[in-house]
């Protein structure tokens, strides 16, 4: 975890505004207040909680935190460690291979290209432009290598 971000965690006064604002927290085991409490009381790393993958990143907790803790940014940062240790959950695994290969998380198929033609729209996403696709794909590969090795 980035040192600057870690430092902000100690500002937490356990008011519970974060979990009170959290929609995911209503239906899952994600409990932001408790995660911060365990960090402060026992030193449990934020990235030890698999429930971080349940965060929809709506940023309501971060925006409402009266102590100005960038909670959602911290969750995203902690996910990096989680991903390195345990890999990505569910269909997220495929997302990055799509991004690397097609330069799109949601690649277009023939039927999607056909829809564009029907509407008389050009096909210009980097996925369909070999030079642009290679350029972006190279950037993605380079960074993924640093992360996954």
């Amino acid at each position: 975890m980035d040192a600057e971000l870690s430092k902000t965690l100690t500002r937490c006064m356990q008011c519970g505004t974060c979990i009170g604002s959290c929609f995911s927290g209503r239906v899952t085991a994600l409990n932001t207040r408790k995660i911060l409490m365990e960090y402060m009381a026992k030193g449990t790393p934020i990235e030890d909680h698999d429930a971080l993958w349940f965060c929809v990143t709506c940023y309501a907790c971060q925006e409402r935190c009266p102590r100005g803790i960038p909670i959602t940014d911290i969750i995203l940062e902690a996910r990096k460690d989680l991903a390195r240790r345990k890999g990505l959950p569910g269909r997220l695994k495929n997302a990055f291979s799509y991004l690397e290969k097609h330069t799109a998380y949601v690649p277009g198929k023939e039927k999607n290209v056909e829809m564009r033609r029907e509407l008389d729209l050009p096909v210009y996403h980097s996925q369909f432009d070999e030079k642009a696709r290679k350029e972006v794909s190279e950037i993605v590969s380079r960074h993924l290598k640093e992360v996954i090795g």
Partner: protein, 273 residues
């Protein structure tokens, strides 16, 4: 001006792009596609793996526009490109909803339509339209009114509903990474919307559109719950109100189709000269 489609609009909802060009032409604003642009990339899931990857691909997209204004119609693309532009001091990035509201204005929109659409609509802003708010200072994130007013400008009614400001459940990689959670959230949201008997859900983000639209099909299969509420992007409704044929908006390709809605869109209520 350059239009940045992102993956979802380019590859799944081209009717949003068609509608946007129609609206801009009608308003006399010149716009063309940002050729060779890639995935923005999606802010939350990319940052969950590599912040540097997010930044470098995002910068490339901004540089492609060569200082021309970049228009987005997706909350994710808007967040990525806007945040990077603000941080690096390079690039002018807009979201079509706030552009219509602030630069075109409600009065001009009201004057530009040829037919009113007397519909009951459940508006959904989508979290990333105004959050994170470090740079997005154009609206209140607790009580926003931009989309409600835009909807009223085309003669529709924005209905109030429980959990109006709640996430659709599609963001943060949850739809792909924790599908069950994503469906739990969607179900809460749809239960609330269906209590209000809305003609459609109106979004300003194709990711929310996909979640509400395909998500309804998924809830039907996995939980035997059937809502049948069509979902549209605001720009599709505005294009129809300005005179575009409803089928050019591509709504017939959405998962939840409603002949009732299409009939209402075709008919509308003529604006007297």
């Amino acid at each position: 001006m350059k239009f940045f489609p992102g993956c979802m609009i380019h590859n799944r909802y081209p009717g949003i792009e068609k509608s946007l060009y129609y609206v801009f032409e009608n308003l006399g604003i010149s716009i063309s596609p940002l050729n060779g642009s890639s995935c923005c990339p999606a802010p939350s899931i990319t940052k969950s793996v590599s912040h540097d990857l997010w930044l470098e691909v995002g910068k490339r997209n901004i540089e492609l526009a060569d200082n021309d204004t970049i228009m987005t119609a997706c909350n994710g693309c808007f967040t990525t490109l806007f945040e990077i532009a603000e941080k690096t001091g390079r690039g002018d990035v807009r979201h079509v909803a706030e552009f219509l509201y602030f630069d075109v204005g409600i009065d001009r929109i009201r004057r530009s339509i040829t037919k009113r659409l007397p519909l009951r609509l459940a508006v959904h802003y989508g979290c990333h339209f105004f959050r994170p708010g470090e740079y997005k200072k154009f609206t209140s994130q607790e009580r926003p009114n931009i989309l409600d007013e835009l909807v009223e400008a085309i003669g529709s009614q924005s209905v109030d509903y429980r959990y109006k400001m709640m996430c659709c459940g599609g963001g943060g990689g949850v739809r792909a990474g924790a599908t069950e959670v994503s469906q739990d959230l969607l179900e809460i949201k749809l239960d609330a919307i269906s209590d209000e008997d809305a003609d459609a859900i109106v979004v300003i983000c194709p990711l929310c559109l996909n979640q509400f639209d395909n998500g309804q099909k998924e809830l039907e299969n996995s939980r035997n719950k059937s809502y049948g509420v069509p979902v549209v992007h605001y720009i599709q409704l505005l294009a129809v109100a300005m005179g575009m044929e409803p089928e050019l908006t591509g709504i017939q390709w959405h998962s939840i189709s409603s002949t009732d809605l299409i009939e209402k869109l075709v008919k509308g209520e003529m604006v007297e000269e």
